[in-house]
Structure formats: structure tokens, C-alpha cells
């Protein structure tokens, strides 16, 4: 009887207990759903994408292996090089601005003031709303005739005619970068704020007693303590800016004169409306070396963290 009560209540329990004998086995069982999923929908497509880059696949027609032909034609394609230049310009300019302004905003939010929580919550809003929808708002803000910015500047008598935000090469580049920075600042600021809050005020107090100026305290305390988290945040920021698609697709579709075309938008344009899946995939694959650089950067950023934070976590 005792035997029955011990085994009968839940067959499932004895099943789990049996498997639970080895945590390696149960570990792999628990890991299985995620692993299968990621292998099938992430690793496999990644490999398929690389393979497609070597084929002349078009929509509705399976391609054949053509070796490096896609890459060779890209090498000789001046549009491709313009797009690479645009992408690097866009990424570098937007990342520097996001970092500078984001760090500044983080330092401001770290100050003691009334409604601090409110400010912190409100500042993150641009990052929360769908990019496409805020980009549509920017589209209207950058309207060539009825731009509110032009209107305000004309009212202040700074300019006499509306600015052609998205119709002129330099203006269009500046406008899309501004919209990207607008959306990216909150992410940088809030992440860096979390890093700032781990810096003990006593360090600043000690430095002040030793006669350090504000700038010196920032340069020799805040910045070094923050550098590991800066490395990670900026890696993410660079990664997402470099592969940006939505903002350009909404605001300019790459124009004017392809001056705002990025690698992701060119890849989409060639592959989906253009139908050359192979060529589009080759452009996407061409982004990978840049991304690997960013990931290595992140990895070393993470490595340094342990000793710099003194086992804070």
C-alpha cells in the first residue's frame, strides 16, 4: 500500500524525476524549444542568406550558383559605393550626436531635482513609440511647404523661404540623421543614467576635497567609470543605426539622388521590388563585416567591465 501511494499520485512527477537524474539531459531538453527555433529561423536563414549572395535567385525563380559575380558587379557599381559612404556617414554622424547628447541628457537626469521620475519617464517616449509612426510625424515636420520648423524660423525672421528639408542632398542627409538622433538619444541617455547611478558620490566628494574642477571630475571619474557601459551602449547604437531601414524608407526612400540610401534600404529595393533576391542578399551580407567589428568591440567592452566595476554585480 505504501508503495502504491508513493508512485501512484503523479506519473508525471516520476517522469520528470527520472529525467532530472542528469541535469545535463534535462538542461538540453529545456534548451530544445529555443534552440530548434533559433536554428531554424535564425541560423539557417543566416546561412541561406550567405548562399543566396552567391546565386542569381530572383523572385519566383530558383537561382544557380554564380560564384562571386554579385559581389563583382557590386564592386563596379558606383551606386553601391555611394550607399556604403552614406551608411558610414549616417552611422558615424548619428552615433557621435547620440553619444554626446545622450551623455549630456544622462548627466542632467542624474542631478537632484523635482519631478525627476517624471522627466525620466517622459524622455524615453521617442524610443517607445513605433519608429515608422514617429517617422511619419517627422515626414510632416519636414514638409517642404508646411514645415513647422520653417514656419517658426520665418516667424523669427531667421530665414525668408521654407527650407526644402528632404529635397536637397545635404538637407536630406541632415534631416534623416536628426530624426535618427531624436529617436536614439533616449536609449543612450537612460542606459548611461543607469551606469551613472552606480558611481558612488563619495568618489566625487573626495576629488572635490582634493581640489578637482568639475571638468576634471567628469574626465577622471565619471568617464572612466562609465566607459564599459558606454562601449556596450554605443555598440548597440552603432549596430542599429548601421542596419537602419525604417526611417529612410518612410522619409526619403533613399532620395534625393540616392543621397540617403543606406545598405539596408538598397538591399530591400534590389531584392523585393526589384526582384533580385541574390543581389539583395549580397548587399546584406556585405554589412556583416561591419557588424562583426561592432560585436568584437562590444565583447572587449564587456571584458573590461569586471575589474572596472569592482564586482559591483
Amino acid at each position: 500500500m505504501a508503495n502504491v501511494t508513493a508512485t501512484e499520485p503523479s506519473p508525471s512527477r516520476s517522469f520528470w524525476a527520472g529525467i532530472g537524474q542528469g541535469r545535463h539531459v534535462i538542461g538540453i531538453v529545456f534548451m530544445l524549444p529555443a534552440a530548434v527555433f533559433l536554428l531554424f529561423f535564425l541560423t539557417y536563414p543566416l546561412g541561406l542568406g550567405v548562399w543566396l549572395g552567391f546565386t542569381d535567385t530572383r523572385i519566383g525563380r530558383a537561382g544557380e550558383f554564380i560564384g562571386l559575380e554579385n559581389y563583382q558587379s557590386l564592386m563596379g557599381d558606383s551606386l553601391f559605393w555611394l550607399v556604403v559612404f552614406n551608411t558610414i556617414l549616417y552611422t558615424v554622424a548619428a552615433s557621435i550626436l547620440k553619444f554626446g547628447l545622450g551623455l549630456w541628457l544622462a548627466l542632467l537626469l542624474n542631478e537632484n531635482m523635482p519631478f525627476k521620475a517624471f522627466f525620466r519617464a517622459v524622455v524615453l517616449l521617442p524610443w517607445v513609440v513605433p519608429t515608422v509612426l514617429s517617422a511619419i510625424a517627422f515626414w510632416w515636420i519636414f514638409d517642404s511647404q508646411y514645415s513647422i520648423i520653417s514656419w517658426a524660423l520665418i516667424k523669427m525672421e531667421l530665414i525668408s523661404a521654407p527650407i526644402n528639408f528632404l529635397g536637397d542632398v545635404a538637407n536630406a542627409r541632415a534631416s534623416v540623421i536628426a530624426a535618427n538622433v531624436w529617436r536614439g538619444i533616449p536609449f543612450v541617455a537612460i542606459s548611461l543614467l543607469a551606469g551613472l547611478q552606480t558611481i558612488s558620490p563619495s568618489l566625487h566628494e573626495a576629488a572635490t576635497l582634493d581640489g578637482a574642477t568639475n571638468w576634471q571630475r567628469f574626465r577622471y571619474i565619471t568617464l572612466p567609470m562609465l566607459s564599459p557601459i558606454i562601449a556596450v551602449v554605443m555598440t548597440f547604437s552603432v549596430l542599429f543605426t548601421f542596419t537602419d531601414f525604417q526611417l529612410i524608407y518612410v522619409l526619403t526612400r533613399g532620395g534625393p539622388l540616392n543621397s540617403t540610401h543606406l545598405m539596408a534600404t538598397l538591399s530591400f529595393q534590389r531584392a523585393i521590388p526589384g526582384g533580385s533576391l541574390g543581389e539583395g542578399a549580397a548587399i546584406a551580407v556585405a554589412m556583416i563585416p561591419f557588424l562583426l567589428g561592432a560585436i568584437l568591440f562590444s565583447y572587449f567592452g564587456l571584458q573590461r567591465r569586471k575589474w572596472q566595476q569592482g564586482g559591483a554585480d
Partner: protein, 295 residues
């Protein structure tokens, strides 16, 4: 650096008490207000345009663009009753919820296996998850489109429900790994000694303690799904299966006449659900964002 006596009492946070009030006004409050103004202005502009009657929309001479007289619900009414907007909203909710649930369940098991069971090679799997998190959708959408075609689920909601977890699972797993790490190991040891199985430990000990982490991962995943664009643009063709971001952009923009009122109303309504969710869970949101960066 002068000490002002009235602020001397407030030495709770850092050394802000060392700055005088006028100085703080210039160096802190003013720049902060400028930041907040710039970051929030597009939302105001979105909202004011959404309720402006058409005749005021472009008439800057007779009406101030910054304000609205006789606000109208015409644009919102048009959106809700004469376009497929309600469909798109429903699709977005349906897809986001489904993708979030799938990702959350798989991520809990994966994170528990990597962080607590520490099976052979779990370290490498953890690193792999982190790397998977760094693979951007703009690289994957072309091969995924081919797979979606091959599986015969092109232009269905299932296509998005199955592909969104490619970026949600790595993120949630990474986040939950960090969260599980913060829960004392001893609790599980006690349960093990008392004869609990791994399954029971996960369900009855670890998960109840991880509710904040689950909420963080959940709302963040929901928001990421809601905001996703490139997959939804590529894998969906028919109007009734589109999500809000794609629908607003591809269906409300017609020819050369931009109907800014209804476009802005669409953008505003599409942002509202995530903003409301965000306003309820600000702290979870912040912790999931910074958690993913810090760990």
C-alpha cells in the same frame, strides 16, 4: 564653487548642494527643458494635426499652426470607419501577443537551462544567444522571405508570429538569464533537498520570484513586436493582414495628396497602446532596457 546655505540640508544625492540655485537653473533645468521640448514636440505636433480640420491644416496665415480652433474628430472617424485601420490594430495586437507568449515560454526554459542547470556547453550556448541578439532583421529578411514562401505561409499572420521570436527569444533569454542569476541559489537547493524535481523548482520556486523579470521581458517583447516593420512589410501583402505601422504607411499614403490629418491620427492611435503600456510599467521597461545592456 560656492556653498549656499539654504541647500546645505539636502546632501542626500551627490554634491548638488554645492551649486547655487541660479547656477543650477542655467546648467541643469534650462538644458533639460530644451531636451524635453525637442523630444516631445513631434508628439504634440502629431496630436494637434490629428484633430485639426482640413481648412486649418495648411493655412498658416489665418490660423496659428501651433493651436487648433474647432478641433474635429473627422480624421479619427475616417480612420476607424472608412479604412482597414481597426483590422490592422487587431492584427498587431494578435501578432504581438502571440509572438510574446511564444518567446516568453521558450525563453524561460532556455534561460533556466543555461543559468541554473549549467549543462555541458551552456556557457557557449549563452554566448550564442547573445550573438543571436545582435543579428539585425535587415540581414535576415531576404532569406526569411524565401523560407516563408516555401512554407506556404506568405501573407498570413503566422508568418510574423513565427519570425518575430527570432529577435524576441535571444533578447528575453538574455534578460531572464540576468534575472535568474540575481535569485539566490540556496532557495533551489532547499527545494531540491525537500525532494522537488527540476520542473517543480522552476514552476513553484523560480517563476514566482521572477515575476518582475517576466513582466519586463513580456512588455518589452510586446513593444518590439508592435514596432516591427521590415518583416511585416516584406511578408504581408493583403490589406486585411497588415500591421499598424505597415498599414498606415502603405495604405493611408495615396498618390500626391497627403492627408496629413488622417496620417497623424493613424500614427497617434498606433502609438497609443504601447505608450499606455509603457506608462504603467515605466520601471520594468527601464530595467529591461538597461538590464539587456548591463549584463
Amino acid at each position: 564653487m560656492t556653498q549656499s546655505s539654504e541647500q546645505m540640508t539636502d546632501n542626500s544625492t551627490g554634491m548638488s548642494y554645492l551649486d547655487s540655485l541660479p547656477r543650477r537653473l542655467i546648467t541643469v533645468i534650462l538644458p533639460l527643458l530644451v531636451f524635453v521640448f525637442v523630444l516631445l514636440f513631434p508628439f504634440y505636433w502629431m496630436a494637434i494635426t490629428a484633430i485639426k480640420p482640413n481648412y486649418q491644416l495648411t493655412d498658416y496665415n489665418n490660423y496659428s499652426p501651433l493651436w487648433v480652433v474647432e478641433p474635429t474628430l473627422e480624421h479619427i472617424k475616417y480612420l476607424l470607419f472608412e479604412t482597414s485601420y481597426p483590422h490592422w490594430l487587431w492584427n498587431t495586437i494578435y501578432i504581438s501577443v502571440a509572438a510574446t507568449i511564444i518567446s516568453l515560454v521558450t525563453s524561460v526554459f532556455a534561460a533556466y537551462a543555461i543559468e541554473r542547470l549549467r549543462f555541458n556547453g551552456s556557457r557557449w550556448v549563452g554566448l550564442g544567444i547573445f550573438l543571436a541578439y545582435l543579428v539585425p532583421p535587415s540581414i535576415l529578411f531576404i532569406p526569411l522571405a524565401i523560407m516563408i514562401f516555401g512554407l506556404g505561409i506568405y501573407d498570413t499572420k503566422l508568418a510574423l508570429i513565427l519570425t518575430y521570436p527570432t529577435f524576441l527569444v535571444p533578447f528575453s533569454t538574455w534578460l531572464l538569464m540576468g534575472y535568474f542569476r540575481s535569485i539566490p541559489f540556496e532557495l533551489e537547493e532547499c527545494a531540491l533537498v525537500d525532494g522537488a524535481s527540476r520542473w517543480q523548482i522552476l514552476i513553484k520556486v523560480l517563476l514566482p520570484l521572477s515575476v518582475p523579470g517576466l513582466i519586463s521581458a513580456g512588455i518589452f517583447s510586446f513593444t518590439l513586436s508592435w514596432n516591427e516593420f521590415i518583416y511585416a512589410l516584406t511578408f504581408i501583402q493583403s490589406s486585411e493582414n497588415k500591421t499598424v505601422p505597415v498599414g498606415v504607411l502603405t495604405e493611408l499614403v495615396r498618390s500626391d495628396v497627403y492627408e496629413w490629418g488622417s496620417l497623424m491620427a493613424g500614427a497617434l492611435l498606433g502609438s497609443l497602446p504601447v505608450v499606455i503600456l509603457y506608462s504603467f510599467f515605466v520601471d520594468y521597461y527601464v530595467s529591461s532596457m538597461t538590464g539587456a545592456v548591463k549584463e
